[in-house]
Symmetry: C2
Subunit: 224 residues, 2 copies
């Protein structure tokens, strides 16, 4: 009925990770429904009665398992970030970096950008919810920064420093400037693609991403 349900989302298996094994089927149903309702309406506009309806349980059952509405949000998002989004992001970066040490930087960056794009389009609604609610729930903000942002940046810095040592890229700029700049170029490209245009996701934009990588590597200035 609801195609944004947790079970259809690429990220869904997150709630079944080790540290969440104590979750029963019913609790999982509730969090599944909560994801759908929260992503559609936002935390404040979502109601516990609608979550109950979509989960197929009574409202009392919800409050048997979760003390407050906010608890539902955090019980859903924090493990999702900590156990799934975070490791998924960081590990795929780590793998791509160590497995392709001898590939040209250009190729590695393309792989990273494409993987990032897939992740972003697959989990659009969820990411929007997380970033929106991070404004109002500091616990969320800390988990995102600590488990995803910081660790991902760390991996990319490793890649850059690896290539700096090989003499492939400039050593007169700190690695974090290169990392954040590349990240910014790619993410803003993808966001503006989604927001400003009607083009379908994942359609023949490999060439465009290659242009951005070209720009990142060779710069905008005319060659002398």
């Amino acid at each position: 009925m609801d195609d944004r349900s947790l079970s259809d989302q690429p990220i869904s298996t997150g709630l079944q990770e080790p540290s969440d094994l104590q979750l029963t089927d019913k609790q999982w149903n509730i969090l599944d429904a909560a994801l759908a309702v929260f992503t559609e309406k936002g935390f404040s506009a979502a109601t516990t009665s609608e979550i109950a309806r979509q989960a197929g349980v009574s409202e009392g059952t919800i409050f048997r398992h979760f003390k407050t509405k906010k608890d539902i949000l955090l019980a859903m998002l924090v493990p999702l970030i900590r156990n799934t989004m975070g490791p998924k992001s960081v590990n795929s970066l780590t793998q791509m970096i160590v497995k392709n040490e001898n590939l040209p930087l250009r190729e590695v960056l393309l792989m990273i950008a494409l993987e990032r794009q897939e992740f972003l389009t697959d989990n659009q609604a969820l990411l929007r919810l997380i970033l929106t609610e991070a404004q109002y729930h500091p616990e969320l903000r800390e988990v995102i920064i600590g488990e995803v942002a910081y660790k991902s940046q760390e991996q990319l810095i490793r890649l850059i420093e690896q290539r700096q040592q090989k003499g492939e890229i400039r050593q007169d700029l700190p690695a974090w400037v290169l990392v954040r700049s590349f990240f910014g170029m790619v993410v803003v490209y993808m966001l503006s693609r989604v927001m400003l245009t009607k083009r379908e996701a994942g359609k023949d934009n490999r060439e465009e991403i290659l242009k951005i990588i070209d720009l990142f590597l060779n710069g905008a200035a005319m060659e002398k």
Copy 2:
């Protein structure tokens, strides 16, 4: 009492622009209070009674002037974007571009980045509100894209094409790739600066921005 009040915000004069002259003092008070409450709690969690309290009027007065709560939000944000944020952004870009046609691109980009940074730090809360609520109110989204995003991009594209014709920068990349990439580098740098670090805004980061511009112009690759 509330240091986020409209009258203290750099953008505040927006509501007094020509097309809003029909606003009375009381209406202005209400929108001023609405800005404070909406930015603090978000649209859904904000209550009309608190807006009334902060505006120093009764709740009935609010609904005498605005039909619904959503009307308050739009009556506040749409003119703010259309009459102030939009023109301010676009005009300052236009001026910097035409006034400095003979300055090195590096200098012009620095001016643009610094001006952007000032705008962003001065209007942080307001921008957060706008981007958050744009998710749920398509009218807002359209105004932002049409009045700010599209027109700003247009100006930057003009700058890039101007410099492409002068042979200063590469002509084998479409202007929009250069524009969005530069924008992404700068904005993500600023956001990560605000979110990940504790550094005070506007403090000695001129050098860092210059590094980003250097990267944009000359690329990450080792010079051959």
